[in-house]
Every structure is written in structure tokens, then in C-alpha cells.
Symmetry: D2
């Protein structure tokens, strides 16, 4: 199993291009194995992406568009246990013609790395449900936050 | 964005090493974008893995062990819309000393490919929460189902 | 704790006004108590209501309307354990000017009663987000299925 | 539809017997109706109950016990919209031989009342999965917080 190297959390915390948001663990996030279920990690990653998309990209996107996810990778680094909060650090790692790629870290209640994630999202037209190019103003805003791998 | 090639669904359906299970879409799987939320795909993949783990590996595993996921990759190929059923085809793509890797396809209510997925799971000791080697009998059962990439 | 009397399952199964649908338990429905989490029961009840609303009421409702839930009561009768299927029996117990009330039973994988539920739903205008009266044709269809308490 | 009267939020906020906790809305809590799905309300109520059970009752309960829910009532008062936080106020409304009843309010991101809830929970033996009497010390702690209806 090839794994990405452990990210430098101190560097991420010091980098203003990394956006941070927080989720609260719920009892129903746990499963019969006694820990937070793996699918909940996908929810936390989505919280970070939506937060980034809304704050950075939202203002310049036209109406009736949304971002759909094309590819999601999650590397699980440590179990999460209820209760507590999960912090998510999100940054933009790549910009394509109609796609925006994100990288993320999830930190557990103890501040330790629980997961890393990469996602490719694609701007979609709400009517046709087909990809559409990023508006120029959106691209400018996104590129200002780009933190290449 | 590099994407895996489209899997050969007919070959998968004809291959007895591929295990099939079914989930029912729920209204709460949808999100404000009007389609099934991406995190629900992670749940459907888990259904397939747990089904495979239980039916194939379960009988030979000792008590107080469980499989934890180390890495999950989902490639989203088409939107899923409520209502209907999702079929999941799951096969074992690799066996390590304490890990079992799965590949999966998710088929939507119309039978079309909605997603492909790869996951690495690791056998864990329930007490120590640390990886432990696959028992020999488990390894034999798993290797009989191996469908290498 | 005052509890409703146990419903007569045989009578429900024989009554054509009761609509049946099925959900599949997911591993992530379980929680750290080792059983299906109580909030998942709310999801199964919703599946039954949406199924009823879509099949019975849907055809005569105008566009841009939806049913919102005003009140939900669930009486938990037995634990549900993964894996397996949940059957939901749903009937209409009351019709108001803009509301439709449902009663439900949830049956576990063993066919035993897992929960009973009552819900009041209200027809909403999608634009104003305010209640609106049931169209006359909808009322006729609903009253044909009414199974008063 | 008979509805409970609107609770006095100022009185609840001033009452030290009411315990407050907070959840963060997730994008996947929304559904195709564009608002937070009704089942998510059940999750928020559970967060409040578990918080209360852990902080008040947890210290005196023996090992291998858990509280199961016997009855849940939710009255939906206003839609919740993503994003934002939900505050939950929880108090103990009744104590039985093996049961503890809770009442709750859910406040949306704007501080307005989104829902009220009542729940009956029962102390369960983890081994036998049967109700067991509240220990005397637990009863003392619970009764100190009792806020009868």
C-alpha cells in the first residue's frame, strides 16, 4: 500500500492559503466497531470543500451552477472517537479548465492527524448537468489561493 | 485528472469472484444539489466490503478483530438519483500480510456505472487497535477469490 | 411511559390500504452500542412516507410543492441489528386541509416489529415555503386510502 | 394536529438545569428539498441526550450499560438551512425506575426555535440487552436536575 507522506501540519497551520473549518462529531457517526465510521470522514472532507467553494469561489460563479465531485481519495491515519470536534484544513492544489482540486487534512479532537484527502471537483451546469468552464473571475480568485503539490 | 479506464461490466458480471450486493437509495441520501450525496457512495462501497469480509473472511477470523479502512478511492462516473437501488460488485484485488484490497463498481437504478472504487483494509486487533497478520486459513480463502488488477 | 398498543401485523399485511417498501440496513447505520442507531429509524420511516407520497399523492400535486414533516413520533419496540432488510408498512391515518398524517410499522430482518411511528406532514409551496391546501384531486386520492385510527 | 405550546426560550436559557450543546450543520444533512433533512433533527436531539447522559449520569453508571431510546417525539417548528450551527438545550423531565425522559429544544443558526423534542430512554444491560433499574447514585444525580413538565 503506497501512502502519501505525512503532511507538515505546522506549515499548513501557518499558511494563509489553507482554510480551516470545524465539525462536531455525532454519536451516530460511530459504528459497531466503536469508532467514527469511515463514511463520516467523507462528510468532514465535504464540509471543508463546501466551505472553501462557498467562501472563495461562490461570489463569482453564476446562478444555477454547482460543483460535483469526480474523484475522492481518503487516507485514514488514525481512528476518530466520539465525542469531540474535527478540524479540517483545505487548500486548492490544482486548477483545470472546469475543475478545481483540493487537498485536505482532518485533525481529531486531540489535534492529531486523522486523515488526509484529495478531491477533484468539477463545475457543473445545474440545467444540463454537464461540466462548464470556470468563469475568468473565479479562476483568478482560485489561482490566488493555489498551493501546488 | 487521471482516471482509471472504464471497467468491463460484462466481464465483472460473468466472474464468480465478484460478489454482488444491493442497497436501497434513501431520500435522505440526497442533498441540496438534488442528487445522491457523494458521502453516500462511500456507504455503498462499505456495504460491499462488509458483505465480502463477512461472507469470505469472517468464518476464519478469530474473535475481537475487525477490518479498518486505510485508504479509499472513489471515482464518480455518473450522478445517482433517488429513488431506486444501487448494486455493488466487489472483488479482492490484492492481499498483503495484514491487509486486503478491494475493487468495486457501483451500478445505479438504470444499471449504468455510477462509480468505481478501490480500498485498502487492514485487519485490526480489537483490544490493541493495532494491525495483526491475516490468519493462514483466512489468507487461503482470500487468495482463492483474488482477481488481480 | 404511555405506549400505543401493539399493532395487529396480520391485519396490516392483509389491508390493501397499507403500502409496503423495503430498506437495506447499512453498516454505517450501526453505532457504538452495536445496534442500528435510533436516527436510522427516522430514515426508514421517511422512506415509507416518501414512497407513499410519491405513488399516491404525487400524480395530482402541482409543480414546486413538497411535503414537510411537522411532527414525528417513533416508538422503538426492538433493537435492529445489521445486516438485513427493514420492511416498512405505511398508511394514511388522517387528512387535514393541508396536512396528511401517516402511521407506520417497521419490521426487522426477522419479521418482528421493531418500531411504530406516526407523522404529520404538511404540503408546502416551494416558493413561499408556506403551507398550501391539498388540491381537490389529491384529497380524493388520499381519502380513498384513509385508514382511520 | 395538536401541538405543544411554544417553549419559553428565555426561561430555558436562564435555567441551570438545562444543558446546552452544539452541532455543526453538514452539507450532507440537506436533502433534495433544499433544507436540512428531518432525520438530521433526530441526530441533533441524540447529541443533546448523549451529552446529558455522559456528563450527568455517566459517572455513576456501572460498566457495560447503555441507554436505549424507547420513544421519540419531534415537533418541527422551522426549516433549518445549511450552513451554520444548531444549539440544543436538554433537560430531564421525568425519572422512572429504569427510564429517564428528556425534553429538548433545537435552535437554528439564527437563534430561532427549529424544533422541540421529547424522548424516553431506558437503561439497558449490555449483556442481556434488557432494561435494568437506575443505580441509586444515578437516581440522586438525575433528580437534582429534574425539571418537571
Amino acid at each position: 500500500m503506497s501512502r502519501s507522506p505525512e503532511p507538515d501540519l505546522a506549515a499548513l497551520q501557518a499558511d494563509s492559503r489553507v482554510l480551516w473549518n470545524e465539525d462536531v462529531l455525532r454519536f451516530c457517526d460511530t459504528d459497531a466497531n466503536g469508532h467514527v465510521n469511515n463514511a463520516a470522514f467523507a462528510m468532514f472532507c465535504e464540509s471543508g470543500r463546501v466551505n472553501a467553494l462557498t467562501s472563495v469561489l461562490g461570489p463569482t460563479l453564476g446562478p444555477d451552477t454547482f460543483f460535483a465531485i469526480a474523484r475522492l481519495v481518503i487516507e485514514y491515519r488514525a481512528e476518530l472517537h466520539y465525542p469531540g470536534r474535527v478540524r479540517c484544513g483545505t487548500w486548492i492544489s490544482r486548477v483545470g479548465s472546469s475543475s478545481v482540486s483540493f487537498s485536505q487534512v482532518l485533525l481529531g479532537p486531540d489535534g492529531r492527524l486523522a486523515a488526509t484527502s484529495d478531491a477533484v471537483t468539477v463545475l457543473m451546469d445545474g440545467e444540463s448537468r454537464r461540466p462548464k468552464p470556470l468563469p475568468a473571475a473565479t479562476r483568478t480568485d482560485v489561482e490566488a489561493l493555489l498551493r501546488p503539490e
